[in-house]
Symmetry: C2
Subunit: 231 residues, 2 copies
């Protein structure tokens, strides 16, 4: 081979097993570092937002448990979309060979979906929109509910539909590729990382979408009734 | 070559020029057949829906020009998503070698984006969701406005956001591939088919999204005010 030879593909834990990665450095942190960061940061945000939503100073009116939990959900989404997926959006080219904390988190997650270490085109586009649109809008949704802004349910609907559509495309594109980017049926990588973690963003946004639909339709019905009376 | 030799790639008008298509039959209908079908069917639907929206029997209340045009838009969307994109969703594997009318329309359009003749994974997924979700929901939106149903603006918001997100991903994925699937700057194929025809689904849904946002927020504001008075 001449001096201009391409670097050889390196060994890696990703699927399909014949996937060629030119740069990959195995994580030097144990898996529980990534997982405990994700879950403890989410739990801390949940607690803080729960307490914030309980403070009567915002609007004077007490909030139901379901509503408080929904606000906590959007706070966690703001963090995951803005910080974790934001990192992917910015550094997806470097992640396979990088040892920064969040890059290691993504290298770990990619064991359940290797599209995250090969700069898969759809994945980069969808994650970028998730990070830069649904991330900030999630935080705005938190604020909108705390301050009882009139567009709070519109924001809930927009963010939830955005998450749902993105996630449906995420599963659907991978289904059509025969789940080739994961070790099928692996309990941690396939079921927990790929299926369960993403199923959350199908189930919860679907519930919140229907909830927003109900609230907004009720508000429109009330306004229509008032206008009909006036005529 | 032995008997088991693969069929050779066939000549075709698509980009990139080295794209290998195994099956491709050139259209036997002239381009204006496809274009005139698309535009005359859309114009007919626009006229019919315009007249239907003007009929006072629905709700008794007259409708403003902008609202009537918006309803016409959703009728056209129902046709384009349900029929034209529905055809692609069902027959995307056969289209390159098929001579049915709608297959010829897609072979013509693909001169502006060859992802439609290579079963591009994202394109098939996005088009399938567009056809089977936004198609029927567009028609429901038409009916919801004609009958002044309380969820009419929710439907407008859902359909418009779905179209907008799908179309942003459509442009974004192709941008990241360097617009490789079209002859860049070609006046008809690149500018008209690819840019202009799709830009419509960025511009109009954006306007309708903001419109729905305004109406729904106003309804919620009115309901909040009524509730605040009661306390």
């Amino acid at each position: 081979m001449g001096l201009e030879a391409e670097p050889l593909a390196v060994p890696h834990p990703y699927w399909p097993r014949d996937l060629e990665l030119r740069r990959y450095v195995p994580n030097d942190r144990p898996t529980w570092h990534s997982l405990s960061f994700l879950f403890s940061a989410s739990a801390a945000l949940l607690t803080l937002t729960w307490l914030a939503a309980g403070w009567r100073g915002w609007t004077g009116a007490p909030m139901r448990t379901g509503r408080r939990l929904a606000i906590c959900w959007f706070a966690i989404c703001g963090f995951i979309h803005g910080v974790i997926e934001g990192w992917f959006s910015l550094y997806h080219t470097e992640i396979p060979g990088d040892q920064c904390f969040l890059s290691q988190l993504w290298k770990e997650y990619a064991k359940g979906d290797s599209r995250y270490v090969i700069e898969d085109n759809f994945t980069v586009c969808m994650e970028t929109i998730t990070a830069w649109a649904w991330g900030p809008l999630s935080l705005w949704t938190v604020l909108a509910f705390l301050q009882r802004q009139p567009h709070r349910y519109v924001l809930q609907l927009v963010v939830s539909l955005g998450q749902l559509y993105g996630d449906v495309l995420y599963f659907y594109t991978e289904y059509r590729e025969g789940f080739a980017h994961s070790e099928m049926w692996h309990p941690l990588y396939f079921w927990f990382y790929f299926v369960f973690m993403n199923a959350l963003w199908i189930i919860i946004p679907s519930i919140l979408l229907l909830d927003a639909w109900g609230h907004l339709s009720a508000a429109q019905r009330a306004l229509d009734a008032v206008k009909a009376k006036k005529h």
